[in-house]
Amino acid sequence: MDATKITTKERLAIPRQVMPAQDPTLRIGNFEEVHLGLTPELAQMEALRCIQCKDPVCIQGCPVNIKIDQFIKLIAEGDFLGAARKVKEDNVLPAICGRVCPQEDQCEKVCVIGKKREPVAIGNLERFVGDYERITGQRIDPAIAPSTGRKIAVIGSGPAGLSCANDLAQLGHKVVVFEALHELGGVLMYGIPEFRLPKEIVRDELDGLRRMGIEFRTDVVVGRTITVDELLEEEGFDAAFIGVGAGLPWFMGIPGENLVGVLAANEFLTRVNLMKAYDFPTSDTPVFDCKGKSVAVFGGGNTAMDAIRTAKRLGAEHAYIVYRRSEAEMPAREEEIHHAQKEGIEFMLLTIPLEFIGDEKAILTGVKCQKMELGEPDESGRRKPVPVEGSEFLLPIDMAIISIGNGSNPLIKQTTPDIEVSRKDTIVVDINTMETSKENVYAGGDIVTGGATVILAMGAGRKAAAAINAKLAGVAQKLGER
């Protein structure tokens, strides 16, 4: 179909193109990616569905305001690299965001086509251009402005830090990224499983950032190895951006939570993703042997889905999601819930755990649960679950994974007391500039918002980069006037 001659009516007649995926019965036996990606033909066909609105509301739906209409038009015309270049003007990590962004709540939610039909598959198209660039080896490296002589420290190499580093480097600033772990990428590496985000893609995107001259230093825990003050005063950084992500996992505070076999989703996922425990003993780090066992994840977010689908792939016979509200209230992406259901995950909804039960060796054997029913809406607007009298039952399980969110890491607060934090220990920032109460120190991502999404963290990183650049330019101007 010729992209220049197609009528709106013809565009509307094209159905949303389905991305090929691994069959559920096969994929529960491996850690390879679930979705296989659009072919160029499918991508072009999908791109033709976009009616090129005069006022593309989808752009406002995107936290980093990708020029969605323009990149889709380029795909429709067959200029895939041009499309990649267009996306990368606003988002450096298209192959990652195309996979993990909740598009159904952002750009695709407001897509005009979506009012009567299925919205344009913006996320799948974004992923396509990112993958096309990588797979064909035709790298698009952004232009770098002449050096400003300014040096900025980015603390944390997750989505917030990487997007901030990218923008600052493009503007000609010297950027050094500090990472506490031995691997770069933050939650993209330790949290999100291979079957949802192949680590090779993250490494590839990191290589792109290295080519831009960004320096990376692993094994540096800011707050311990070096403090924010030392970075600014002794190491000559003009500004710092804190994007250290979420911290210590929350537990439920019910009896038996410290039994052997009860662990946080962060621990389970870190063992498997970062430390490659699925490859034990080739890899030194073990993980609870799930083969033939019953595993339950408590929680209903994306991390909960990641954890239980990982347990299933490690051979769990019964893999349960135990969630206190109903499916409609689950914070996980719909797509993730559907994938989990197809993979044989058993959903125990409207159920809360009361107590973990162990044997004489303190090894978990089961969990005492209670059924709930939905009552009046609570402060979050979701209907509040209330216990059903006499509905207690025992669910035999061998491993329990707690996935109810994270608090904030206390290290920066403890060692940089002049950075103001909230009651929940998140860092307080000016929402327009992301600057903290400490001058020239900015923050963004989960350390500011509490647990949120990759793209929101990236948006915060970009906003901070713009503000840092403006501030440094302002200082330079003042110095020039003197």
């Binding site: 031995h182 190895t225 210590l248 410290n258 946080a264 621990e267 030194d284 206390p410 290290l411």
Partner: protein, 281 residues
């Protein structure tokens, strides 16, 4: 990569390393630890920093070969390198002039107690050290401990050197002699720390232990190192590793440390097999 400057055995299976890590050397305080990862595919494991030299930019760690990683570490020599060394982690020991302080080290725990004993001495305490080992050959840091002690005792389980018996018996003897003890630090195997806590509890002597739960990241992210202290969940990597001995649930710690026994054995056996293969070749 972090270069090993020197590596010497202090006793059978217990080796002391000086490692180049300038940032950590500059920052480290008594009671803090580092996470190590020896090589690609290696696990992350914690070791307390025994000493540091900020001028030279080195830290000292002492490791007893127990599992695969510590045994692999103990095969490294000066000039070799370690893939990752991260720190200093954990909250530093709380040091003040308590008056009379007793520092107790059991086995390789002596290496962990040493920097804190030195800091207690520097803060003006009258320092009594009791260092226990199974037998004479396993006694470590005897001279170093003496140098920071007003009174130094060695105990051996078999009586081959020093006091014949456990560290707790020596501690009980000191307490029973009627001397006023203001602070006790105990670091060693879980049963030893638990026993020390029970000796001091009736006398209300402030007692601190350094806990060794399983850790993965060590920076406050995974929650694997949680321990029960005073019926509350605490994270050893950021809230500890030192805690009030009278509040610690030692049974819970011992139970949780057993979780990967089977896997550890498998890993050990694979490593031992590989070592035999290499030595044959």
């Amino acid at each position: 990569m972090y270069r090993i400057v020197s590596a010497i055995f202090l006793a059978e299976n217990i080796k002391k390393f000086e490692i180049e890590a300038p940032r950590i050397a500059k920052k480290r305080k008594a009671g803090q630890f580092v996470m190590l990862r020896l090589a690609l595919n290696g696990e992350r494991f914690p070791l307390t920093i025994a000493d540091s030299d900020p001028e030279k930019g080195t830290i000292t760690i002492i490791a007893q070969g127990a599992g695969k990683s510590t045994r692999a570490l103990n095969r490294l020599e000066a000039g070799d390198a370690i893939a990752d060394v991260v720190g200093p982690l954990g909250s530093p020991s709380h040091i003040e002039n308590f008056g009379t302080a007793v520092s107790i080290g059991g086995g390789v725990g002596t290496a962990i107690a040493y920097p804190t004993a030195a800091a207690l001495k520097a803060a003006g305490n009258y320092v009594i050290t009791i260092n226990g080992a199974r037998t004479k050959e396993l006694v470590i840091l005897e001279n170093e401990m003496k140098a920071v002690s007003d009174e130094a005792y060695i105990t051996t389980d078999d009586g081959s050197y020093g006091f014949n018996g456990f560290v707790t018996q020596k501690l009980q003897e000191i307490i029973d002699s009627g001397r006023k003890i203001d602070f006790v630090l105990a670091i060693g195997p879980i049963p030893m720390m638990k026993a020390v806590a029970e000796v001091t509890r009736p006398f209300g002597i402030k007692t601190v232990v350094s806990l060794n739960p399983i850790m993965i990241d060590g920076t406050g992210m995974c929650g694997g190192c949680r321990v029960t202290v005073g019926n509350e969940i605490k994270f050893a990597c950021v809230d500890g590793p030192e805690f009030d001995a009278h509040q610690v649930d030692f049974k819970n710690l011992a139970d949780r440390n057993r979780i990967y026994l089977h896997e550890e054995k498998e890993s050990d056996e694979a490593f031992a097999h590989k070592c035999r293969m290499t030595s044959k070749a």
